[in-house]
Amino acid sequence: MFQNDIDITPELIARHGLKTDEYERILRLIGRKPTLTELGIFSAMWNEHCSYKSSKKWLKTLPTKGDKVVIGPGENAGVIDIGDGDVAVFKMESHNHPSYIEPYQGATTGVGGILRDVFTMGARPIAAMNSLSFGEPDHPKTRHLVAGVVAGVGGYGNSFGVPTVGGEVRFHPRYNGNCLVNAFALGIAKRDGIFLSEAKGVGLPVVYLGAKTGRDGVGGATMASAEFDDTIEEKRPTVQVGDPFTEKRLLEACLELMQTGAVVAIQDMGAAGLTCSAVEMGAKGNLGIRLDLDRVPQRETDMTPYEMMLSESQERMLMVLEPSREAEAEAVFRKWELDFAVCGETTDDLRFRIIWQGKEVADLPIKELGDEAPEYDRPWVEPKKAAPLADDDIPAVNDVGAALLKLIGAPDQSSRAWVYEQYDCLVQGNSAQIPGGDAGVVRVEGTSKALAMSADVTPRYCEADPFEGGKQAVAESWRNVTAVGGDPIALTDNLNFGNPEKPEAMGQFVRALQGIAEACRALDFPIVSGNVSLYNETHGEGILPSPTIVGVGLLPDVTKMATIAFKADGDEVLLIGGHGRHLGQSVYLRDLFGREDGTPPPVDLALEKKNGNFVRGLIAAGRVSTCHDLSDGGLGLALAEMAMAGRRGVRVELGDLAPHVAVFAEDQARYLIAVKPDIAAAILADAEKAGVRAERIGTVGGDAVDFGAAGKVAVADLRAAYDGWFPAFMGGGLA
């Protein structure tokens, strides 16, 4: 028998992830001891994952406004104007903790959750991406996690029918105990067809839609707000189970229902399920909510109110409907064979009341549940920064061709085809660029415009210098969108860090955020949505600071788009932004010499903007259709990728430069373009006029990436090494 009025012991409070002072705050707020259900509700609302209590103070400092921002952070997803009455709706969210515990379901429900965030707002998802970080390849858990997470990401997105058009996968020992699974989704809607969670009107029906409530995921958000230790295997029941088939029907039913005008407010049930969605709708609308749990569709018998309020069963929605349209709404949901139950109503008393078996099991002030969550100004210290390297501390190599071959076949630089071939990147028929280039590009149906998007962060840079690393993540995403011809509009972020109660980890968070903010301001690239994932630690060791950025930009005309592939022999290769000299934190040092040291390359945001705008102008004018940004592995890696994609070689002249520096330096704000020989001189002249450094460095042709006396490597050998690593690692290769 369920006991709602039980003694609230310190152990019980601790098990709910609440600190003693937080419990005292609850006592002050409600003026009495909470019931068990109420304690569960507080733990669901006040955990780090849902309340952003450690990060809120700093998130407020981020730039979130811009001409094209329609809705910024605070709703299910951010909304930007893409012209002609269309808007793009997007967000990224982490499912790190559950994916480490149960990789397939953790990843799958991460994808499901972010898709729901997008279509809850009335937008049809047209693209997905993801950013995955795993432990070192040799770690005994890594292959298991890669196989499960990749299958889970694909399993949901493929069945739901959204193309996965890009992403990133990295390996590093600091993710041995905590993998990162960040899922991004983007949808399209009409500007006047956006739906929000704010309830309006007293006495209106609160309707439960979608899948039934089960016991899966109870306490998931609280689990995701703690460090891991040896007990993680016991936490599997806190991971939800995904059903993409139900989600697909939920999408179609919701969009169909929204067309009818019956929907007043809508909120999906994500973290903290029924609790969070109901409180959100009421609190935003200055209304109370009364829920009758006996009317909630249930998958299992004898569920307690505590379980129902904390369940994170997937594919569920809460709506406030126009009472006169209830029958119409129900018919839509019955057609799609989904549950539909009026399970409550809006009230004018600003209370959150839960009825179960005819009794009131919770009665809490609804505004305070959300607004009065604790907010911390966590102490932080300036993180330790890596020391700069002296020039003579950087070893040279005799043959840059051989070095390039080694880098292209290394875990972090090799082809991700083993991963992305498990994702449907073509469904919907609008994919203009699929994984393997600088950015994913998806046409907006029925128009000639397209959206470009790219997921980026370089965690080793962030570890060495969180501020510069934060800047670099934003700049690289902006650069990748630019490199395909996109005009960057806005971004979403997924801030993955360690334990915020440790001043060092909090310092990384604060400084990375300051770097992100500076880059966003300098590049006119506001943040419209995002997610924070803290406590990514196991046995006290945290992940590399990993603020993932997905930038989104618009291509006004998708026929004027650049790809990385060399297209014709004889094309001239121009380097925009000049030769580099920075090898601190480079993959050259890491993968050839086993060294992760030095400072990361500094990011000159004014230069970034100037060079990027120049390159974008060339693409938009139809003068350039081959472009690649320079990032990990510098010039050498970019040339190799362009050669492999175009199945043709390139002859490069390095002049008097030290070859290993010129080829592998990771200086920022740089691009390679390939152009017809007859326009190369004009482009160089235009660059000079614009104050952009540009030089001719080689010619497309032959069957090797050829650096002359400094070395050469056959494109076929690069291809073999590039394609070989991942299948060999996962054991077996493709059938």
Partner: protein, 223 residues
């Protein structure tokens, strides 16, 4: 050319198919809900790709028993042309309109990539716009495309020229027996294939090789 696309819960390439049919034929297909017991009179019925009923039980097994499929079977028997792509092919085998079965891919993973297809027979209602032996590009995107049939069935399919498409140039992505990518029924009016011609029909897709399939049907109807 009049066509209809049957929509099942979980279909997700219906939209791509409708676009392709409209683009190539100039006529918008009718979309039919799986609960409709009677399909309109059309020249071509298409079962699109996707994950009908979430691929639960077996891919296509539940959709094969929907009311609309009874009418598809009747009309197929009467000679109406039926095309099943990907999940549509799986539904056709589950409904008994095509022989054999589509098993899990040999490597047990979902695969989305471009493959090469050899047009094995150009004397069919679905392939006459191609040349026999022509190798075309075409994407695949499936988890269960590993075609299998018993030796007698296979011998009949091969002997009667009912293998319409074969994976070519070593690109078999799923372990299908005899590299089979698409087969016809005995009468030649029902085609099932795993690859997605509807995803290679315009410049944005990077190629037009998929158009031939739809142009073939248009040509057949016009003849």
């Amino acid at each position: 050319m009049r066509s209809a696309v049957v929509l099942f819960p979980g279909s997700n390439r219906d939209h791509d198919m409708v676009k392709a049919l409209y683009d190539v034929t100039g006529f918008r297909p009718t979309v039919v809900w799986h609960q409709d017991a009677t399909l309109p009179d059309v020249d071509l019925i298409v079962l699109p790709g996707g994950f009908s009923y979430g691929d639960y039980l077996r891919c296509g097994a539940i959709a094969a028993r929907s009311p609309a499929m009874l009418d598809v079977a009747r009309k197929a028997k009467a000679g109406v042309r039926v095309l099943g792509v990907c999940n549509g092919f799986q539904i056709l085998t589950e409904a008994g309109l095509l022989p054999g079965a589509l098993m899990r891919n040999a490597h047990l993973r979902f695969v989305c990539k471009e493959v090469k297809l050899e047009v094995t027979n150009d004397d069919t209602d679905f392939t006459r716009a191609y040349r026999k032996g022509q190798v075309i590009r075409c994407p695949v995107a499936h988890h269960d495309g590993n075609y299998f049939a018993d030796p007698e069935t296979l011998a009949r399919l091969e002997g009667d020229g009912r293998v319409a498409f074969r994976y070519a140039e070593g690109t078999n992505p799923n372990g299908s027996i005899n590299d089979i990518a698409g087969i016809l029924n005995e009468a030649g009016n029902v085609l099932g294939m795993m690859p997605h011609p509807e995803n290679l029909i315009e410049a944005l897709h990077g190629g037009l090789d998929g158009r031939g399939l739809f142009e073939s049907v248009v040509r057949t109807i016009a003849a």
